[in-house]
């Protein structure tokens, strides 16, 4: 029976932010096996910022990208392997290498207003027989009608699914419904939703997305992810089941998998706390959390002042270098100009 909702697990990609990209290969193997056992259909693996993300700007991964993908592929059977690519960070060569290693799904992520830079990558991946998902990040920054226009571009390039991606965990349920609804109205392909929990709304927003017609929903084991984390996939499985929707995921197995991640001590507990709450409130990219904490301590300023200033400047995903710039200028009592 084909599921009503497809749950995509990104513990080993978005969750990588929570451990500063320090997953060991053993963890990758254990997580992948437990997700396979839980009958999750797609799992995303790699650096938090996707292919080519291992860098000074975003932090270096513990292991090389290829090793993570090889380890994951070896532990998989029916579950499909996905990677994320942000145009401007990852390259063709890295994508083709990932494909050779057994990756079958590409998720191309751009800032909500910049869908046209995904064209090269969507076409390349489609030409090579991959399934392609378009990811419109920081979706809270764009009104629903315009977001749908950007989604339409990705669909025209050949994307099979387009996501409303709440990278800042800043959307409220009504905002999710309007955005997913706008995409559903304009697109003939499935629509997805990717939540962050900075305002404590990851499950509520995912439910709102499903109500508005989203059929692909992202989650991670125990909610491990950037900022206050993602929607906990085991909770999604239970909630969707109670809504009478089939996900194909085995509930007890995925609960066990989440329990293992929680007990393995991979990251400090992913909680909301004042920093993540500020991220959601100010509408800042969730991945900034650990970078902003380091800058706050290095330059002796309040992390919330850094985050609010970044929000005011409308800094987008990937601009981690602005954190140091803002922190430095705050420490000197100067304003950073846009």
């Amino acid at each position: 029976m084909s599921p009503d909702i497809i749950l995509v697990d990104t513990t080993l990609r978005d969750g990588s932010h929570a451990v500063a990209h320090q997953f060991t290969l053993d963890v990758v193997k254990s997580v992948v096996r437990s997700l396979e056992r839980s009958r999750v259909r797609y799992i995303e693996v790699g650096h938090g910022d996707g292919l080519g993300g291992s860098s000074i700007q975003y932090g270096f991964s513990k292991e090389r990208e290829e090793l993570y993908l090889q380890e994951a592929r070896a532990a998989l059977d029916k579950t499909q392997l996905a990677v994320l690519l942000l145009p401007g960070i990852g390259t063709y060569d890295e994508l083709m290498r990932a494909r050779e290693l057994g990756v079958t799904m590409l998720r191309v992520a751009t800032h909500a207003t910049e869908a046209d830079i995904s064209e090269q990558y969507i076409r390349l991946a489609k030409d090579h027989g991959m399934q392609v998902v378009g990811f419109l990040m920081m979706a809270h920054m764009l009104e629903p009608g315009k977001l749908a226009e950007q989604a339409l571009l990705m669909a025209d390039y050949g994307a099979d699914v387009v996501y409303v991606t709440d990278s800042a965990g800043a959307l409220l349920p009504e905002g999710v419904k309007r955005r997913v609804g706008a995409l559903r109205t304009r697109l003939s392909i499935p629509v997805g939703f990717h939540a962050h929990n900075n305002l404590g709304l990851s499950i509520g927003n995912s439910v709102a997305a499903v109500d508005a017609g989203a059929t692909y929903i992202d989650g991670t084991l125990g909610g491990l992810g950037a900022g206050a984390g993602n929607a906990p996939i085991e909770v999604l499985a239970a909630v969707l089941d109670k809504m009478g929707l089939e996900t194909g995921v085995d509930l007890y197995s995925i609960m066990d998998a989440a329990e293992w991640v929680a007990s393995a001590g991979l990251a400090r507990p992913v909680t909301i706390g004042r920093s993540n709450l500020t991220i959601g409130y100010a509408g800042v990219y969730s991945s900034f959390l650990l970078h902003a904490e380091r800058a706050a301590s290095r330059f002796g300023v309040d992390i919330r002042d850094i985050l609010v200033e970044l929000g005011r400047m409308r800094v987008v995903g990937g601009q981690e270098d602005m954190i140091v710039d803002v922190a430095y200028n705050l420490s000197k009592g100067r304003e950073s100009e846009v």
């Binding site: 860098s55 000074i56 401007g88 800032h111 830079i117 064209e119 090269q120 987008v316 601009q319």
Partner: protein
């Protein structure tokens, strides 16, 4: 002395900004601006100012008026450049390539202005490369740069379709230039488009892993490189002093444009066009011997 004529290929953001700069240049003049779209704002603007234009592409120049100029400036796209380079070769013209096609040798004026003066196809790397490689090369002279990573953030509105369709070429060409002329052991480039309104000024962050290094020497080298670039890009400046921390140098550069075609936030246009004009001046001063001699 008569001005040296050049042909501008491309009538988008970069081509039109080039035209603006050459228009007030003492030694260069635009003999023809070549586009492919009759509705192009750039062609209209140049034409209204009395500059000859065509919307029929490089073939118009090759077939109708190849004697107009011996120097071509290509501000189209990496894919279009492959054809333009071939036509230029057949006509025995020199071409300065502002696309990230990277077919010819890289030139960054403050580093190697005259090194490839006889090359038929000179590549200007990318805006990010022009903004960051001078810093890498400067630090390489006083320390061993094991790894150079740069992040260029530009305003969405300053990135035309050519730039948007060439993101992959951009990252690869820039990374390559960090190594080949910046002197880094390994290079990596990241580009980010930011749609904020009002648009942000082009900014570049350069991270260099140098291990052991003398902070005062690095600071002096960086400051010297900044003034060298300022000679041809007036809006180029340090945002914060070089930060040395744990064997890693961080340099932040902001590039404000001259406000020619796009407003001053589009320093990414200016740094490319200023650098290309600087190279064109040099080519004009060195008469072409032809590729076959």
């Amino acid at each position: 002395m008569a001005k040296t004529p050049v042909v501008i290929l491309g009538s988008g953001n970069i081509g039109t900004d080039l035209w603006c700069k050459i228009r007030r240049h003492a030694k260069l003049t635009t003999a023809l601006m070549v586009g492919i779209d009759t509705a192009s704002e750039g062609l209209r603007r140049a034409s209204e100012a009395g500059c000859p234009t065509t919307a029929q592409g490089i073939d118009y120049f090759a077939e109708r008026c190849p004697d107009l100029a011996d120097i071509l400036l290509d501000a189209t796209s990496a894919a279009a450049h492959r054809y333009h380079a071939q036509v230029a070769r057949e006509l025995d013209k020199r071409i300065i390539d502002l696309t990230p096609a990277a077919m010819g040798p890289f030139v960054v004026p403050s580093i190697n202005l005259t090194a490839h003066i006889d090359a038929p196809d000179i590549n200007m790397v990318t805006c990010g490369g022009q903004a960051t490689v001078p810093i890498v090369a400067a630090v390489s002279r006083v320390a061993k740069v094991q790894y150079a990573e740069i992040v260029s953030t530009i305003a969405s509105r300053s990135a035309g379709p050519g730039t948007r369709q060439n993101i992959d070429e951009f990252t690869r060409a820039t990374a390559h230039a960090l190594e080949s002329i910046g002197g880094a052991g390994r290079g990596k480039a990241i580009i980010i488009l930011n749609p904020a309104d009002p648009p942000l000024i082009m900014r570049n962050t350069i991270y260099l892993d140098v291990g052991e290094a003398a902070e005062n020497e690095i600071t002096a080298a960086v400051r010297q490189a900044v003034s060298a670039v300022q000679q041809y890009v007036p809006g180029y400046r340090l945002r914060v002093p070089p930060l040395l921390y744990d064997g890693r140098v961080t340099v932040m550069i902001e590039v404000t444009g001259a406000g020619d075609f796009l407003p001053t936030y589009a320093g990414n246009l200016d740094i490319m066009t200023c650098a290309a004009v600087r190279v064109a001046e040099e080519l004009a001063a060195h008469p072409w011997q032809g590729a076959l001699t």
